[in-house]
């Protein structure tokens, strides 16, 4: 426990994780208290002159319908971060279940399961997401599902190999000898032991998931107007780039900073995990 505390302290005191963490907290607060923070309703048209440049009353200007860009970005934070988290959660839960199961059962199941993962890797993940959207249709939640689905092979592969290592540990054998059920061993004993790895790869994938979902929305396959999802905002802002660049600059900037913060946290988490492993080996 003490070791974990050292690592946690290291992680929290790190400059990178501090910057990323603070920005994300700001974004989350913005998303939660959007009605209080946003000066206008996200969908209120003609709050001011159309396409008016940033000013004190319209911090990031207004769009073609006279909607306040800042308010829309604040409300949009509700979408971008949460849809990313949901899609990663979906991918990681499915991937962990699959990876742990095939690793634990082993033998032929493991061989066939690994082959399935290999074949899914034959599809580039964005192509897989596009294919899924082609089948189930356009819409924000369909895109969230598609991106999550496309991430399963990646998660399953890493978690399978982690589970394989844990499976060989003496305490798992002890559990088997004590007559524990398979489910109890898989999810009560193997899962907690690889949980740190799961957290790290989930965080490291979150940034990519947010970008993928925003990209698909930008292409018109995800969130539909007038929803203030950042990717969809960029898609409509693009048409007025020449006359009103602020409708394009600010949503993208927030998307970029959010993804960068998530990536920073993921990096530092994985470094902390590496540090834990070296402490365990008695190195650091």
């Amino acid at each position: 426990m003490n070791r974990n505390k050292i690592i946690l302290k290291r992680f929290l005191l790190n400059k990178g994780s501090a910057i990323g963490g603070i920005f994300l907290i700001v974004i989350i607060i913005g998303a939660v208290f959007a009605p209080v923070i946003a000066p206008y309703n996200w969908n209120a048209v003609d709050t001011g002159p159309r396409l008016s440049p940033p000013s004190l009353s319209y911090l990031f200007g207004t769009d073609i319908h006279g909607r306040d860009v800042f308010s829309r970005i604040v409300y949009g934070a509700r979408y971008s971060l949460s849809v990313g988290v949901i899609s990663v959660l979906f991918g990681i839960i499915a991937g962990s279940t699959f990876g742990i199961t095939i690793a634990y059962i082993g033998g032929r199941v493991d061989i066939i399961g690994s082959r399935i993962i290999d074949v899914m890797f034959g599809f580039p993940s964005f192509l897989l997401s596009l294919l899924v959207v082609a089948i189930i249709g356009v819409g924000l939640w369909n895109v969230v599902f598609a991106v999550g689905l496309a991430s399963i092979p990646h998660f399953a592969r890493i978690i399978r190999s982690a589970a394989l290592q844990v499976k060989e540990q003496p305490y798992i054998e002890a559990g088997i000898n004590l007559g524990f059920g398979n489910l109890r061993i898989m999810f009560g004993h193997i899962l907690p032991n690889i949980f740190p790895i799961i957290i790290v790869i989930a965080t490291m994938d979150l940034g990519g998931a947010i970008i993928s979902i925003a990209s698909l929305s930008f292409l018109g396959l995800g969130a539909q107007p007038p929803e203030p999802e950042w990717g969809a905002m960029l898609s409509s802002g693009r048409e007025y780039m020449r006359y009103a660049p602020w409708t394009m600059i600010y949503p993208g900037l927030f998307l970029f900073l959010t993804v960068m913060s998530v990536n920073l946290l993921g990096d530092r988490l994985s470094q902390a995990l590496d540090a834990r492993q070296s402490i365990n080996r008695g190195k650091a």
Partner: protein, 309 residues
């Protein structure tokens, strides 16, 4: 068994299963393709039946599946519902711009990735390491469609340095940057960590104590050894070029396979989607195969291992 033959044998079932998945999933799409062909015009049952026959939809799924596989290996992937052209012809016509864009993105990504990786990796934990890694972090965090628009806005619209539309080398610069940026970021991070690892090896210490120049040590002794993980990344990231093609072609209004795929998906033009996915997975798997082979060229140890295996 020979390593290359082994690898080639794995490719065939992978492609077969991938194509089957494509066929099955695309044939369970709700909606009648006949409606699409007729473009919403009302038609008598007789006409609909004719269209169905023309598309080969009157045959049972199993038969369609078998002929799809046979024709696919022959390079015949059917006709587009919308344009009624052979899809292979449409793919051929749109291939060149995408290949150019991919090569452009790849060159940008590898060059800047390795460059920043060397800057950071040769002096870990220094100021210049932090600087290079912050840039790399930006690279992997920038949404490519946004950076594409920003590049158009800054260098095209505002400064007027680069033409936004048009053909030729100059108009390829901005799209290549927006495709290659993510790639460059990942490449820089991996090159750095790999280089830091290699520089701590005994043979580098030996080289140093022999009095070799830093330049010599980095370029001849370290870089080659450090390039294995980045080359692997290259293989994995080929998929990114497809992502890049779809998004960047849309942002820069360039013709290409990405645009074709996007339009096919939006129009539910099943044969075209099917053909593009078949084609892209084949290219993707084939390129990864090439990457597998290059390991042996970069690292003789792997070549020897393969021979003895």
């Amino acid at each position: 068994m020979n390593f290359f033959i082994k690898k080639l044998i794995i490719v065939i079932p992978t492609l077969y299963i991938a194509w089957t998945v494509v066929f099955v999933t695309l044939n369970i799409i709700p909606g009648d393709p006949v409606n699409l062909m007729l473009g919403g015009r009302p038609a008598s049952e007789e006409v609909r039946e004719n269209v169905r026959k023309n598309l080969g939809l009157d045959k049972p799924v199993a038969e369609r599946y078998v002929s799809f596989l046979i024709n696919a290996t022959k390079g015949d992937l059917g006709k587009s519902y919308l344009t009624r052209q052979p899809v292979t012809k449409m793919i051929k016509e749109n291939m060149m711009p995408t290949i150019q864009l991919s090569i452009g993105g790849l060159i940008f990504g590898v060059f800047f990735g390795v460059f920043f990786g060397i800057i950071a990796g040769t002096k870990p934990n220094s100021m210049r390491d932090t600087f290079a890694m912050v840039i790399a972090l930006c690279g992997i965090s920038l949404p490519s469609f946004w950076i594409g628009m920003m590049l158009i806005f800054i260098f095209g619209t505002t400064l007027g340095w680069v033409p936004i539309v048009g053909e030729g080398f100059v108009s390829l610069i901005l799209p290549s940057i927006s495709v290659g940026l993510f790639f460059a970021g990942g490449m820089a991070r991996l090159t750095r960590s790999s280089l830091v690892d290699v520089l701590n090896q005994d043979y580098i210490r030996t080289a140093k104590s022999k009095g070799l120049s830093t330049y010599n040590i980095i370029l001849k002794h370290s870089l080659r050894n450090a390039m294995i993980p980045p080359v692997t990344l290259l293989g994995i990231q080929f998929g990114l070029l497809i992502t890049g093609a779809v998004i960047t072609e849309e942002v820069f209004a360039r013709p290409g396979l990405g645009q074709l795929l996007l339009q096919a998906i939006l129009a539910k033009d099943i044969p075209l989607v099917q053909a593009l996915v078949v084609y892209m997975t084949a290219v993707y798997i084939f390129l990864n195969l090439i990457v597998d082979f290059t390991y042996g060229i970069i690292d003789p140890r792997i070549r020897l291992e393969r021979k003895s295996a």
